[in-house]
Amino acid sequence: MSSSKRSTIIVEQLRKQQMLEALSRGKRLDGRDYDLYRNLEIEVGIIDKASGSAKVKLGNTEVIAGVKVETGEPFEGLENKGALIMSAEVLPTASPHVEPGPPDEDAIELSRVVDRGIRESEMLDLDKLALIPGKTVYTVFVDCSIINSDGNLLDATSYAVVAALLTSKFPVYEIQEDKVVNTGKTMPPPITTIPISITAVKIGESVLIDPTTEEEACMDARITMTTQSDGSIVAVQKGFTGPFSINQIVEFSEIARIKGEEIRSKIKELNSG
């Protein structure tokens, strides 16, 4: 069951006061402009045993994504499409507050929102990943491990997934006498577009993109918007307990488009590099 969170109120209030005071002077505590991302480093191909992998550092947030490609049964109702299965675990290494165990509601939301961006953009052309229609298809697992957590896990994880998929090499399966056989060859995955998520938090009336843990601790609300290469919006998720005005949402959709394009350019270089 979903439940609202607790924290020490005095500390919480002081932290928020300090934060609001800085924001009243137009400053974030780490000195960034409201619409500035932290330093983003992406390294790909770090896990030899995976079909694709990426490590993303977004400020101090660090995420690894690994792609495994196997064969399996299609999902019900999607008999002629490859199956895409995504998971995310916030490792107990990531912060003093993580307990090992099955994913909590935050981790479930995280992986579902990242999944939605990939799936709705149709980044991976699943129609090209069927093998024996209705019986056997490509099953693409994308698993994410959050190694260190300093805010905005959603975007960091999303970029790791996109980078890992984009640079992965899928095994080529063939059908020989009704059986699926791994040929030992590889192929690039069928990529159609590059979805990029942009996340912001609202603190008071300020909207800050790429929040740190410190900022998330003071946030009233969160919003994530994912755009694809042609600039259209493919997924949105409002999060946390505060509201947004319609204006704030519309303004943010413009920011998400522009910032999305910036980060998309950066990620595109991975494949040419």
Binding site: M1, S2, S3, S4, R6, I9, E76, E105, I108, E109, S111, R112, R116, E120, S121, I223, Q228, G231, S232, I233, V234, A235, V236, Q237, K238, G239, F240, T241, G242, P243, F244, S245, I246, I249, V250, S253, E254, R257
Partner: protein
């Protein structure tokens, strides 16, 4: 396939698969106070959605260490009965239900004055007896009414409605078929008096222009739902007076 889809979901006269126009809501009926043991409750029929919501609280938190010294904890469970869907649903909570429980709680919380009940908990139990498209919006509508029925101090009601896209058309209140076969679905929850959005999700592609149109259409829907929520509460609490007025 595309033409077939257009044909099915929206015909040349702008009529949708269930006979509605693009700006029509499905039929909505809300009944207040349907669960005897609960502190507040409501039953909503929203298209084919049938959802019952019971509210318990404010009451003591168990385990006690979960209590907050300065405000009330809000908990929410969205759950689908095994017979609510086309093929039987496993009764164990799915990841989808976990996520919806979370966004539903977060969409209701801004409307509640939780600081009025420190150290307590309010539980909102949303049971989907039959699911059609838009069950999370329908559930929020019933939950907000049930919270009002429970006498919880509130800043506003929360009214929810989705809009979506079928080919080039933005349509109000996406049904099950349109959710599965359409091109985008955007559930929105809104506090009509405070003019604030408390739930916003999107699955599917929208240009920036379509996004704005879709958001505004959804909010129009929320406002229409708000009137039905108010009527339902009026009917329970001032039922006799209303009838007198009508007669007069």
């Amino acid at each position: 396939m595309y033409s077939l889809k257009e044909l099915t979901l929206l015909d040349e006269n702008g009529i949708r698969s269930d006979g509605r126009g693009i700006n029509d809501l499905r039929s909505i009926k809300i009944t207040v106070g349907v669960v005897k043991n609960a502190d507040g409750s409501a039953f909503i029929e929203f298209g084919k959605n049938k959802i019952i919501v019971a509210v318990y609280g404010p009451r003591e938190v168990h385990p006690k260490h979960m209590a907050l010294p300065d405000r009330c904890v809000l908990r929410c469970r969205y759950h689908m009965s095994p017979f609510s869907t086309d093929t039987r649903k496993n009764p164990a909570p799915s990841r989808r239900e976990v996520e919806i429980s979370k966004v539903m709680r977060e969409s209701l919380e801004p409307s509640l004055i939780l600081s009025d009940y420190p150290r307590a908990v309010i539980d909102v139990f949303v049971e989907v007896l039959q699911a059609d498209g838009g069950s999370r919006c329908a559930g929020i509508n019933a939950a907000s009414v049930a919270l009002a029925d429970a006498g919880i101090n509130m800043r506003d009601l929360v009214s929810a409605c989705a809009a979506g896209r079928i080919a080039d058309n933005i349509v109000l209140d996406v049904n099950d078929l349109e959710d599965k076969e359409g091109d985008a679905d955007m559930p929105v929850a809104y506090m009509p008096n405070l003019e604030q959005v408390t739930l916003l999700q999107l699955d599917g592609k929208l240009t920036t222009t379509q996004f704005n149109e879709c958001l505004n259409k959804a909010i129009t829907g929320c406002k229409a739902v708000y009137e039905i929520q108010k009527d339902a509460l009026m009917k329970k609490y001032f039922g006799n007076e209303m009838e007198l007025k009508e007669e007069a």
